[in-house]
Subunit: 285 residues, 2 copies
């Protein structure tokens, strides 16, 4: 087997047979669910997974139910052959690339809803998005039954939602958050960065700078409301065309920390558009 | 260990440790979730479970989220010591009797909703009931991780909902339906029968007779709508005080079979009150 060859399975039965074989041999198993269009950020998840378990299965499934009607499901980039090569190079042992029929067979009727953590920010900006995420992640984790699963902090609200999901539904898996991988100018790596024009790409690189500045101001004792207003104004000044949110939140459940000086573990989160491309990023306080 | 001694665990950690020990010894595991107040019907589930797996864990949890605000959560009968004796006598190996904090810890935020099968009949009569059932059953099955789980056909809509749940969320468990256990006069055994006065108990015994008559009429070619009207009238004549439904449904997904002669696998289902006690029953066509 060459270093860059990656076995691919497309059905739950094949996936479970491989995981069962690994378990039978005494190996632990990690999973990294993705939507493909892989970049260095995803590969850092795979490497972290490989450090935490003997075997790593990555999934690629562009989940239609987490896209809104006017979002980019159809144009979301797809390149399975290229993705498979990258996964193999990062130490992944198996690619699970199910057809839609393996995930949503005829008669599918179930929805998993997480209240609280899923409601503000991307939950408010993208109605139904997190129901789609929670449902498909519950399914993927039950299909593979890994010991650990790795998700990126880049999608911080999603990560906290998945932690809640695993806890609340007693999924027998440990959820691990991986630090956001960034380009040289600090832009959080994202498959959607590929949509950006060269001009937009330059502006995009300021989002992380504005977030880091907000973190500094909060640490220096500026009030939550002042930091939020300053951050929004800075993004507008940098050329972002529409700002969905620029907010300071409780790090754990994304509830509002209240006005004044931040007194709880915090997270600053932002979502803003350049043209039709929506970028998100976040940083710990 | 005497034949009637039954080990009890109250936490997920203890439950999983026991199931893991059984699996390690090569044993298969079955689960029968209950709300306690056990009768011969539950014991028939335990016996069926024991026939399908080497080890049987029964759970007793009176789930608050599946009771409506004006339903009988507070007065629902509870008798753990008596239940444990009965379970042991039927071959059960372990009782899982969690505190509410093991099921709904602080911050619990997740709801599992099944559309379609959960919507008519008891779903219409008891808003939120089946969300509560789906959520707690997903949890209990993930907590115990049995190979098979047994549910009674007495709660037929619940059984079909749980089949859908397990399929849709890829729960790695086989769902088994068990035939309804009945008293000598055919009354479906139910913990709620204990609420009946002697006079009500006599009337209750007619519900299954009216259902069986509906099945005969459907088999003889009577139309769905005629059989439903005849059944409702018969229940009223017998002294039932309020009829939630008396309906012919598609056996699989509980959709309406359409008017005229029944041309699909059918199920006749009824729910009716005697005083404050709500009785349900159903039969296959």
């Amino acid at each position: 087997m060459s270093a860059d060859f990656l076995p691919v399975v497309r059905t739950v039965a094949e996936l479970r047979a491989q995981v069962r074989a690994w378990r039978g041999a005494g190996d632990t198993v990690a999973m990294t669910p993705t939507m493909g269009a892989l970049h260095e950020g995803h590969l850092s998840l795979v490497r972290l997974a490989k450090a935490r378990a003997r075997r790593v299965v990555a999934s690629i499934f562009v989940n239609p139910t987490q896209f809104g009607p006017n979002e980019d499901f159809d144009r979301y980039p797809r390149n399975e052959a290229g993705d498979a090569e990258l996964l193999a190079s990062a130490g992944c042992d198996l690619l699970y690339a199910p057809d839609v029929s393996q995930i949503y067979p005829a008669g599918f009727s179930t929805k998993v809803t997480i209240s609280g953590v899923s409601e503000p920010l991307d939950g408010a900006a993208r109605p139904g998005h997190f129901d789609g995420v929670a449902t498909v992640v519950a399914k993927l984790l039950n299909q593979a039954q890994p010991d650990v699963a790795v998700f990126g902090e880049k999608d911080y609200q999603q990560l906290q939602l998945i932690r809640r999901l695993a806890l609340d539904l007693d999924l027998p898996v440990e959820i691990i958050g991986a630090p956001t991988a960034r380009a040289e100018d600090g832009l959080a790596l994202s498959s959607r960065n590929a949509y950006l024009t060269p001009e937009q790409r330059i502006i995009a690189g300021r989002l992380n700078v504005v977030l880091a500045d907000a973190v500094s101001r909060l640490k220096a004792g500026d009030s939550v409301e002042k930091v939020e207003a300053t951050g929004r104004a800075a993004l507008e000044r940098q050329g972002f065309e529409r700002i969905d949110y620029f907010e300071v939140r409780h790090a754990l459940d994304l509830s509002h920390p209240g006005p004044g000086v931040l007194s709880v573990p915090g997270r600053v989160l932002a979502a803003a558009f350049l043209g039709k491309t929506r970028l998100i990023d976040n940083m710990a306080v």
